[in-house]
Symmetry: C2
Subunit: 233 residues, 2 copies
Amino acid sequence: MEIDSQKIKVIGFDADDTLWINETYFRDAEEEFATLLEGYETKNKIDQELFKMEIKNLSLYGYGVKGFVLSMVECALDLSNNEISSEKITAILNIGKEMISRPVELLDDVEMVLKELSKKYRLIVLTKGDLLDQERKIEQSNLAEYFHHVEVLSDKKESNYKNLLEHLEIDVNEFLMIGNSLKSDVLPLVNIGAKAIHIPFHTTWEHEMVDDNDAKGKEYKTINGLKDLLNFL
Amino acid sequence: MEIDSQKIKVIGFDADDTLWINETYFRDAEEEFATLLEGYETKNKIDQELFKMEIKNLSLYGYGVKGFVLSMVECALDLSNNEISSEKITAILNIGKEMISRPVELLDDVEMVLKELSKKYRLIVLTKGDLLDQERKIEQSNLAEYFHHVEVLSDKKESNYKNLLEHLEIDVNEFLMIGNSLKSDVLPLVNIGAKAIHIPFHTTWEHEMVDDNDAKGKEYKTINGLKDLLNFL
């Protein structure tokens, strides 16, 4: 798909795993969790059950670290048949606190690319997850100056994007979204008539995976890194 | 203080304990928590320690039910010297799930008052807490149609209000805020030059209490219930 850079006026960036590292920390946390639960189940089973618990609780807790920690505690109680020690529950709470406190690690070239693009386009951040966590990350990232607007969404479905573009008075034909998740950052935009660019991150949460059929025939561009944006924007 | 209703163009409403019941559920949860911890400490001490834990974790977890549940779990481990049973940890998680799933209970006259005021003013909701929870409550309340905008803030300090009014292009002199918390809904507004009306709710979280000195000399109006707004707006 070709992006007509003349037509684009506003560029939306996903944040987690597009501007900075995030999913890697969840993978690390899952490793620690599996180590804590060693002896109760196999690593593979622990991973699976934690994922199931997260999905079961998703409609209640939404995205973000706090819901993830609550699901880890519940899963630990379940998998251990209530035999998990208090010390291990404390260790799970601490995994969450460390995730929340972890300094922001920007991905390659982020600042240089945003600086360039902000000269020609209006840039916004569209992220989902916990409001406070995302605000903190934006602040810590020192990237706030490049963005006209930061919106934390409770989810990234077509309707969320439609409402937001309407609210911000952005014409869907003039909007380009950039992100690492086909499911959340690319396909919903293509489906409502906007442009989208996919920059895969090396790790993707299972819940963000899409079926090949969902992506088939959809018009979006895939690039390897943020820097490649400057080749055509 | 007199409110010049001719000058006001936009009215902001706090949501929790202004439009619908909220704090009562936290009090109920604290009661249940104290019952679970019976035998480890006195009720009074349990209440105090839970409050301390919430405040200790506030900068990490922010406002909302999920952070409250994580603090309850941590406090239970602490107060019981790690002797709390797994069944009681599960009970704490369930207190949180029930809070999140609880149907919205509107306060008296809310819909009638919003319907009237929406004929003359632009109404917005300014609430803090968990994004997903607040969105769900707005939706369930069937009040969304009366509001031009709903904003969930991570905190309600002067800077949060200033940024938001600027972003929404609302003149501070034309803005009136209505809410149950002097600390979050009234004083920050008065301090930035907007108008504010206090409608006390019968229960206030200790963290939302203000020192008499902070409120002394500040110009705001206090009324008994939402319906009283119609006497002068």
